[in-house]
C-alpha cells in the first residue's frame, strides 16, 4: 500500500448562505494523479483553494504529510511543497517571463541568488518550449503561453503536489497535446497531481483515479472505468 500524501477529512466550506463544499473527504497517495470532475458550481475550485490556503475550511482538516495545513497561510503551504495553477491564468503581467519564474524560486531558497537559479529556470522554460520568450513581459504573451508560464512557475517551486485548475480550458489542440505530455512526464518523475478539468477526454486519459463532486458533495470516486459506469455520475451530469 502506497503512503498517503494528502488527507482531506470531512471538509466543509460555506460562503454566506451558500454551501460550497459539504463534508468532503478523500486521500491522495504519493505519485498519484487524481482527477476531479463535476458540473459547474460543484465546488471543485473551492477544493483547490482550500488545499492551498486561499480559503480556510469552516470544518474538517487537511493533512499534508502528517502535518495539518488547513490553518496555514498560502505562502507557507506553497513552501511546504504544494503548487497550483489558476483556472483563469494569473501571471504577473508587468514582469518578464524570467522574473515570473524567479518569484517562486527565490521564495523557497533563502540564500539563492538569481544567477544561481537561472540554469534551473532556463531548463524548465526549455522543457515547456518558451525559453525564447524569457525577456518578454507577461502581458505580451498569448493565452496558451500564459498556461505554460504558470506551469513553469509552479515547477520552480519544486512542489511534490501540483494542483491544476482547468489547465486545458481555452487551449489550442496542439498545445493541449503538449500539456498532456508535460503532465505525464512530470508524473513519471514522481510528482503528485490533483487535476480539475471539464475536458472529459483529457481527464479520463490522464487520471489514475477520479473523484466526482456535485453541489458541494462527493458523490463518487474510483478508477476512470468505474466512474464511467457510475449511475449517479451520469445522473449528476445529465439529470434535469
Amino acid at each position: 500500500m502506497k503512503k498517503h500524501m494528502l488527507k482531506v477529512s470531512r471538509v466543509t466550506k460555506r460562503f454566506g448562505g451558500l454551501t460550497a463544499l459539504e463534508n468532503v473527504s478523500f486521500r491522495v497517495a504519493e505519485n498519484e494523479l487524481l482527477g476531479v470532475i463535476g458540473p459547474n458550481g460543484s465546488g471543485k475550485t473551492t477544493l483547490i483553494n482550500l488545499i492551498n490556503g486561499i480559503h480556510k475550511p469552516d470544518n474538517g482538516d487537511i493533512i499534508f504529510r502528517d502535518m495539518p495545513i488547513h490553518r496555514l497561510s498560502s505562502y507557507k503551504i506553497a513552501q511546504k511543497g504544494i503548487g497550483r495553477t489558476f483556472q483563469v491564468t494569473r501571471v504577473f503581467r508587468r514582469m518578464s517571463v524570467m522574473e515570473n519564474m524567479m518569484v517562486p524560486a527565490l521564495s523557497i531558497s533563502k540564500s539563492g541568488t538569481q544567477e544561481a537559479l537561472l540554469p534551473k529556470a532556463l531548463e524548465i522554460l526549455a522543457l515547456l518550449k518558451i525559453v525564447h520568450l524569457k525577456d518578454e513581459y507577461g502581458r505580451s504573451l498569448s493565452g496558451g503561453q500564459h498556461k505554460l508560464l504558470e506551469l513553469g512557475r509552479v515547477l520552480m517551486l519544486d512542489p511534490d503536489l501540483i494542483l491544476l485548475d482547468e489547465p486545458f480550458a481555452g487551449v489550442h489542440p496542439e498545445l493541449k497535446a503538449d500539456l498532456h505530455d508535460h503532465i505525464r512526464k512530470l508524473h513519471d518523475r514522481g510528482k503528485t497531481f490533483i487535476l480539475i478539468s471539464h475536458d472529459m477526454h483529457s481527464i479520463f486519459s490522464l487520471s489514475q483515479r477520479l473523484m466526482v463532486l456535485s453541489s458541494g458533495e462527493k458523490i463518487a470516486h474510483g478508477t476512470p472505468e468505474e466512474i464511467r459506469k457510475n449511475e449517479e455520475v451520469i445522473e449528476a451530469y445529465l439529470g434535469n
Binding site: N52, Y75, F92, R94, M95, E99, S107, M156, L157
Partner: protein, 313 residues
C-alpha cells in the same frame, strides 16, 4: 547600453557635485528643495509603483519625521543628527501600523483610508498648537550651527544618493521582485510562496523611513514647520512628479521631481497658471503615456544612439 547608462550617471553625479560652484545661493536653495522632493517622490514610487500600494499618506509620514525630530530637539536638546534618525524610525513605525491596518484594503479603500489618516493628523497638529505650534509654525533649530548653504547642499545630496542606492538595491533584489509580484497579484504571489503580509508591511515601513528622513532634513533646513506640509495639494505634487517621471522607475521619479520643481520656479510669474498646467500635464500623461514622459524620451534617445553606433561600426 550599460556603458551609456553608467556614463550618464557619472555625468550627473559630477554635475551635482560641482553645482555649488556654478550657482548662487538662491538657486542652490531651489535645488536643495528639489532633492527633498526627489527623495519623497522616489520613495513613493517604490511604494506605489513597485509595491502597488497607492497611499496618500506619504506627505503625512514626512511630517511624522519632521515633527518628531523638531520636537525632540526642542524638548530634549539632543543633536538634530540623532533626532532626524529617530524621526525616520518614528515614521517607519507609523508606516508599520498603517501597513498592518491596510492589509485588507486595496485600491480606492486604501486611498480613502490614507487620506483620512493624513487629515486627522493635520487636524491634531493644528488643534494641539500648544505643543506643535499649529499654524503659527514651529521654529526648528538648524541642522548645522554654521551658516552655510553648501553644507546643507552636500548633506541632502549625500542622503539622496545613499537612499537611492539602497532603494535601487531593494528594487533589484528579491525584495523588489516580491514587491512587484504582490502588486501584480496577491493571491498568485502567495501560492508561489511569497509572504504577502510581510512584504506589504515591509514596503510601508521602508518607504515611510525614507519619507521621515526627507521630512526631518526639511524641518531642520527650512527651520519652520507648519501642518501645511500634509495638505492634500502637497501629496498631489509628489504624485504628479512620480507620474510624469514614470511610475515604475526610481530614476524617473527623481527626474520628475527635478523637472517639476525647476519648472515651478521658472514659471513663477505665471502663478496659478503653473498649477493648471501641471494638473493638465498629470492627467494627459496618465491618459496617454502610463510610463511617464521621461522614460519613453530616454528610451528613444538611446535607441537612436545605438542605431547610429551600429551604422558607424
Amino acid at each position: 547600453m550599460k556603458n551609456l547608462n553608467r556614463l550618464i550617471l557619472m555625468g550627473l553625479l559630477s554635475a551635482a557635485a560641482l553645482l555649488p560652484f556654478a550657482m548662487d545661493g538662491y538657486w542652490l536653495h531651489i535645488i536643495i528643495i528639489a532633492y527633498y522632493y526627489a527623495l519623497l517622490a522616489s520613495s513613493w514610487c517604490l511604494l506605489a509603483g513597485y509595491a502597488g500600494q497607492f497611499s496618500f499618506a506619504h506627505a503625512a509620514l514626512a511630517a511624522v519625521g519632521a515633527y518628531t525630530s523638531a520636537l525632540l530637539v526642542l524638548n530634549t536638546g539632543i543633536s538634530p543628527v540623532y533626532s532626524i534618525i529617530i524621526g525616520s524610525f518614528a515614521a517607519a513605525g507609523v508606516g508599520l501600523v498603517i501597513g498592518f491596518l491596510c492589509l485588507r484594503l486595496q485600491g480606492p479603500y486604501l486611498a480613502l483610508f490614507t487620506i483620512a489618516y493624513s487629515e486627522i493628523f493635520r487636524i491634531v497638529l493644528n488643534a494641539e498648537y500648544r505643543y506643535t505650534g499649529g499654524n503659527f509654525g514651529l521654529n526648528v533649530p538648524p541642522l548645522f550651527a554654521r551658516e552655510s548653504r553648501i553644507l546643507y547642499y552636500y548633506t541632502i545630496l549625500g542622503i539622496l544618493i545613499l537612499s537611492l542606492v539602497v532603494m535601487h538595491k531593494i528594487v533589484t533584489s528579491r525584495l523588489g521582485l516580491f514587491f512587484r509580484a504582490v502588486r501584480e497579484d496577491e493571491d498568485a504571489a502567495a501560492t508561489l510562496g511569497v509572504n504577502v503580509v510581510k512584504y506589504k508591511i515591509l514596503a510601508f515601513v521602508i518607504t515611510s523611513f525614507f519619507a521621515g528622513l526627507a521630512g526631518g532634513f526639511y524641518a531642520h533646513y527650512v527651520r519652520i514647520l507648519t501642518p501645511n506640509i500634509i495638505q492634500l495639494p502637497q501629496m498631489g505634487l509628489i504624485i504628479a512628479m512620480v507620474v510624469i517621471g514614470g511610475i515604475e522607475s526610481l530614476a524617473g521619479a527623481v527626474a520628475g521631481a527635478f523637472i517639476l520643481q525647476l519648472a515651478a520656479e521658472y514659471l513663477r510669474d505665471y502663478e496659478e497658471l503653473r498649477w493648471v498646467f501641471f494638473g493638465l500635464l498629470l492627467v494627459i500623461t496618465l491618459r496617454f503615456s502610463q510610463n511617464g514622459l521621461i522614460y519613453p524620451i530616454y528610451k528613444r534617445l538611446t535607441k537612436k544612439n545605438e542605431k547610429t553606433h551600429a551604422e558607424s561600426e
